[in-house]
């Protein structure tokens, strides 16, 4: 009746996950109860859960990422404490539990923190920067988000019901095959990534189409803001790479569920095929994450330097070059697995070539700052901190791309330090920069600068204290994923790293405090102009938060830095020179499709993990029914009458006139 599921799935003998799970459960129930009692449920349902507005969906993505950051972060804290205390002792975590923690940590951080964070920011901002009303496929957009949430939910369920994979975040066979991992851990891993992967693919298709087909009048390719370019590159990579992940996981699942022989040791299966496939996805994946961050830094650096981006065209070229080259270097992830010197040399050189366009970008940012009027607001701090950090990470990456060096450093703590260096210093700093930069756009008030700066400095220092020791430990020969060890020389570095982790935690706390304080003081921090940073691209041309339709009129773009040009022109003429007549606007209607889809996907995923076949069928039928009902809909748009558009827009124009006359006075 319930497949493999029975009471033994609940780990009654392990206090840590049980207590953690209980706390989370109580927290969720408390929030739910509060929502219901206070009567917020209808509001949540109609304004958020069923919303197909790209801005709302973007915010929900970022919220999901933030919550999962706390989850992945607590795993990290546990690991750092373990390695600090596990010198010549077992530490406080049983080995199989430790293995689950590092696997869950990697999986969560990449798929449910970094990905939703950057996708959320792209969703929120790209249509605004392109000067359009929405993404290409609004309802699909909601489906994509909710499927991502399903994946995250399944991973979290594994904390209490059953177990998570013990195989690392890429589940290499043969360890992940049924014979070595008979439990449900790998199934949790594979199904949650399969489901959220579909969501990611949908988001990718949506954003590619949006950038290529939905630009406002006059927005030629070479007038798009840099963030739109990196969004395009990143989503092209999603469309090209995520199907590889889907296929690879499908093969692994076929091996596990039906006894196929793709990657088994018996009957001719080929483990190296998994390595090739997973890294053909995995290497582009790191650029899927970091390219949007590059875009955010470009926007931030140019805005806070008060200058147009230096070398715009070379930046575009560098972005697209990275997009292409990142597909040609995957093999550097297994230099040590016997491909032979020629192959290694070719892939080594190809990997180092990526450093060239990346270097171009760094120089462009520096030259943008050079001679500019720099304002050290919080987003700018993150951008500068990123440049310092990322250069170190890039250099160690180039070092790893030298095959002989990699033979020594592969699978060592040095590698761990490298990829945290690029992923935290690149992606996460970028996400935070974007968060601080666009928060006023999304909510209409700024974040508190004092707490923001404190958060930056604690995170920045904490990062270095945590990860620089790992480089050293790696060079002293410490391998990754150690549950305990006996080498005295490593111990001090592990203790320093744990202290660094504590500093990082203070950074996170500052960030939470920043949000709380800012929400409390929101009236004082209110931004009525919609343009708090003196921005340059179109998202600042509308009010904050923008109306559902984004722009009352489709903007007409005349050059790079579209909004900056408008402001310059507006100072010469008057802003309201000739507002054309307002018109009715059609917008897509809210739809529960995404949520319902995800509901059935959760049921199906859970049932598949536990081999509860009748429930699988039920979930599948439900999903199909949702599809048919959605396909049967008659009206998917509603009309905002011209009068309402006019009323909303007039407020915005008033505020903006004040802004322009003030700017004129300066």
């Amino acid at each position: 009746m319930l497949g493999k599921l029975d009471w033994s799935a609940i780990p009654f003998d392990q206090p840590i996950p049980l207590v953690a799970g209980a706390v989370v459960l109580v927290a969720i129930l408390a929030v739910l109860a509060w929502v219901v009692v206070k009567g917020h449920l209808p509001y949540l349902w109609s304004e958020w859960i069923t919303s197909v507005d790209h801005k709302r969906i973007g915010v929900m993505y970022v919220l999901l990422a933030s919550v999962m950051l706390l989850r992945g972060g607590s795993d990290a804290i546990m690991m750092r404490i373990q390695q600090a205390v596990a010198y010549q002792s077992q530490g406080y975590l049983p080995p199989e539990h430790y293995n689950q923690i590092f696997s869950a940590h990697g999986t969560i951080m990449i798929f449910f923190v970094a990905m939703p964070f950057v996708i959320g920011l792209m969703n929120l901002i790209v249509p605004l920067q392109l000067g359009v009303r929405d993404v290409a496929f609004p309802t699909l957009n909601s489906v994509g988000f909710w499927l991502t949430a399903t994946g995250a939910l399944l991973v979290n369920i594994s904390l209490v019901v059953g177990e998570f994979a013990r195989t690392g975040w890429l589940a290499f066979p043969p360890l992940s095959e049924l014979s070595y991992s008979p439990g449900v851990g790998v199934d949790y891993y594979a199904w949650s990534l399969q489901i959220s992967g579909v969501g990611t693919l949908v988001a990718g298709i949506n954003l590619v189409t949006t950038v290529l087909k939905l630009r406002t009048k006059g927005m030629n390719y070479l007038r798009m803001p840099m963030f739109c370019w990196t969004t395009l590159a990143s989503n092209l990579l999603i469309v090209a790479a995520f199907p590889i992940l889907t296929a690879t996981l499908a093969m692994l699942l076929l091996d596990r569920y039906l006894g196929f022989h793709f990657f088994t040791n018996e009957a001719g299966g080929n483990v190296m095929m998994f390595m090739n496939l997973i890294w053909a996805w995995g290497h582009p994946e790191v650029y899927i994450l970091v390219l949007p961050a590059f875009g955010i830094f470009s926007e931030v650096v140019s805005t806070f330097s008060g200058k147009a981006l230096f070398g715009y065209r070379s930046m575009v070229l560098a972005t697209m070059a990275i997009c292409v080259i990142s597909f040609m270097v995957w093999l550097h992830h297994f230099f040590t697995m016997g491909a032979g010197p020629d192959v290694n040399a070719i892939f080594g050189i190809a990997s180092m070539i990526i450093a060239v366009p990346t270097g171009v970008k760094i120089y462009n940012w520096l030259f943008t700052m050079y001679g500019g009027r720099i304002r050290f607001a919080t987003p700018m701090l993150w951008a500068i901190g990123f440049m310092v950090t990322f250069i170190i990470g890039g250099l160690t990456g180039v070092l790893l791309a030298v095959p002989p060096a990699d033979f020594i450093l592969h699978n060592s703590m040095f590698l761990v330090a490298h990829f945290h260096n690029v992923i935290i210093g690149g992606v996460l700093f970028g996400a935070f920069a974007g968060f601080e930069y666009w928060f006023p756009k999304a909510f209409g008030f700024r974040l508190d600068e004092r707490w923001g700066k404190a958060a930056f400095w604690f995170t920045f220092v904490g990062f270095f204290v945590t990860f620089m020791p790992l480089y050293i430990a790696g060079m002293l020969g410490m391998t990754r994923r150690m549950q305990h060890y006996d080498v005295a020389a490593w111990r001090p570095w592990m203790i320093v790293a744990a202290i660094g982790m504590a500093v990082l935690v203070i950074g996170v706390i500052c960030q939470i405090v920043q949000i709380v304080v800012s929400v409390r003081n929101r009236e004082a921090l209110r931004d009525r102009t919609g343009d708090p940073w003196d921005g340059r691209s179109l998202e600042w041309a509308t009010s904050s938060p923008p109306p559902a339709f984004n722009f009352a009129f489709n903007p007409d773009v005349r050059g790079e830095d579209a909004y900056w040009d408008m402001k310059v022109r507006a100072q010469q003429q008057s802003l309201d020179a000739d507002r054309p007549e307002y018109q009715d606007i059609e917008m897509p209607k809210n739809s529960p499709t995404g949520f319902v889809c995800a509901f059935f996907a959760t049921i199906m995923g859970f049932a598949l993990i536990w081999h509860i076949w009748w429930m699988v069928i039920l979930g599948g039928l439900g999903a199909f029914a949702t599809f048919v009902v959605f396909a049967w809909r008659d009206h998917d748009e509603y009309v905002i009458p011209a009068a309402e558009v006019a009323a909303i827009d007039r407020v915005n124009v008033e505020e903006r006139r004040g802004l322009v006359s003030m700017a004129g006075a300066v």
């Binding site: 298709i205 087909k213 006059g218 030629n220 590889i244 296929a247 006894g259 080929n270 065209r313 396909a631």
Partner: protein, 213 residues
Amino acid sequence: MAMTATAGHAHADPHHIGLVIEHPGPASKRTVTAYGFWIFLLSDIVMFSCFFAAYAVLVGQTAGGPKAAEIFEPRYVAIETVCLLLSSFTCGMASIAADVRNRFWFYLGMTVTCVLGLIFLVLEFREFANLVARGYGPTRSAFLTAFFSLVGCHGLHVSAGVLWLLTMMAQVYAKGFRADILRRMLCFALFWHALDIIWVAVFSVVYLLGSAV
């Protein structure tokens, strides 16, 4: 939607001196839908190529089981191929009929497409069932694993296509040739033709090259 070529706004935009093609604004809904669906199809083809790659890697790994040449029945495969190619043609007829809003030819085209698709599926199913009955199921060897997965994946796509086809017919029956229905019909046709192209690749790589192994 004419592209207008104008002189660049040299004052606002120093890079764009000379002739600039001005972007006319967002594309029509039909274009956007078809374009997005194209991109989906490309990603689907990437997914297929992974299974092709796996087949290429594993085709020699028979683990003492049968080789490719020993199990294929060219006659069935030939009929399957003809069915699928014909169905692409009839699907094209149905699309044209939809564009000129001719219900009779639309239903006829779709019905024939559906029947041909079903024949294809039945033949494929028989091929699979025969192999399994002879003890050559996908668990027998890595080669058979790759074979069943690649061909089966295509078969699953065709099955999904048939379901979609029936939904399309029902939609036209209930709602007529509305603009959104026509957009969906466009996507369906793209999907069906793409399956044809993939089948041509399957036919060449699996059956033609495979018979030589």
